[in-house]
Amino acid sequence: MTDLNNSMTEEMFQGLGVDEQSSETLVRPSISYWQDAVRRLKKNKIAMLSLFFLIFMILMCIFAPYIYPHPYNEQNIAITNQGPTAEHIFGLDDLGRDIFARIWVGGRVSLTIGIVGALVSLVAGTLYGGISGFCGGIVDDVMMRILEIIVGIPYMVVVIIVSVFLGKGMTSLMIALCMTSWTGLARLVRGEIIELKESEYVMAARVLGTPSFRIITKHLIPNTLSIIIINTTFSIPSFIFSEAFLSFLGMGIQPPLTSWGAMAALGQQQMTYYPHELIFPALAISVTMLAFNLLGDGLRDAFDPKLRQ
């Protein structure tokens, strides 16, 4: 202190006045919500790895069947149940079909059901929940009563009814899964919209005379988008799961077409002696599910403003 006292000059005590400029400057750079979310997602190594893995899986499903020399339905009766070799990377199944080739063809089915199903339930759920929440009153009441009844129907029952009626296969599976899967998102979106509608900034926009359309596009949609994206990411694996499960029971994809679940079902019967027939399709399902779940976790962490500090 004394040292400093000696070195102090009168100059240092000259007034500088209010320096608003510097006090207003925020130390942390200001970035928008979406930029911040993307930045956080990019920093999340596990989520990014999952994302790249999924892109890889999708590309393989699209192109591998054209490049790989063995078609998925080619039978080699002489060498059935053969384990993995250089010629047949994942080995052969009980009819001598190449499992590697079948994984990608089956993957087409499984991923298509996952992605299309999730998109359909995204549109249906968002619209239903959005309309119900936005309109409120009697419309909301009636729509929610209907939803309650639909929720009351176990999805297994719907799958069975539809497959009894339309026959087993990809179409009926898709219809049945879509019919029951949108309810969760609809409830979420409705809850969010109702909360937003009562929030002060939407109230303020209303008072300022902002038309409904603008409120929807500028306030309601951007603010519900994150939960919709997160929910959709999680619903893709649940579609794949349901498909696998139903195909395993013989109620989903029918031969000659195949899917990961159908392959696992065949593999399970051969498991005691030829475990590779179960392990590869099971791995395909599990790792894909894992990647979707981890990506979903990453998205949720990136979007959840509560976790931001």
């Binding site: 009814i161 475990p275 779940n293």
Partner: protein
Amino acid sequence: MVKYILKKIIYMIVTLWIILTVTFFLMYSMPGDPTQASAKVLPEAVQKNLEAKWGLDKPLGEQYVIYLKNLIHGNMGESYMTPGLTANQAIEERFPASLQLGLQAVAVSLILGLILGILAAFNRGKWIDFVTIFIAILGVSIPSFVFAALLQKYAAGGIFPIIGWVTEGMGLADIFKYTALPTMAAAISGIATYSRFMRSSVLDVLGADYILLAKSKGCSRFQIIWRHVMRNAITPIISIVAPQIAAIVTGSFVIERIFSIPGLGRYYVDSVNGRDYPMILATTLFFSMIFIICMVGMDILYAVVDPRVRKSIIDGN
């Protein structure tokens, strides 16, 4: 409160009736005849005879009324595939195994899941937390049939039988042996879901002001967990338990099949594959009923646990 429960029950009946009606008309208006479904080609006379016996020769509307009348008397019809077997008998015979498997799986997954979730939340960032997150992610990523198949291949054979189920007169040790693996296989997804939910729910509650107040009163860690955290953290879990129970009941279709358990789920699938209409209808109705009872039970439990929900119900009436 009574009024609320009554309202819920009325909803339940309406839902069941809708499911029944839709299923009935879809199934019976289908092209083709159930009499042609069985593998054998029946002579025309036999077929006509069967149609008359099952009432298929009557108009659809009349069939429906007859079905409803029988249903009110508790008669759910008779199997096409196994003549003489009524749906009531089939359910009575098959359901106990499914119920036991389901209840055991729910109990195991609730106990393990909640304990793991709580431990993880209280030791955030430590090894137990990572183990829980790992289990939770694996549990939702590996389909139950894969898990069941793996258990069957690697864990069964020694103490645990590869297939089979409890039969009458078995001792506790045997019951354990026969049910342990299927129960684990059915419980894994529940363990994953509950532990994950419980973890985040406990973390939410731990951040609440009333936990700080409890701490500032001088409560010990254990007292805070027991008196303040548990009840508030478990409440949101209730909302996922009911669908989870339903999922375990449906999920056990696969497990019943892999472990050759004589349960209703397996029978349901067999009926669908054999187009055994009365059986499909009866089992659909039965499963829907269980599912809906779970849901209504959940709503009521919610009201019991959370005084605020109870109040909103009483106010609502």
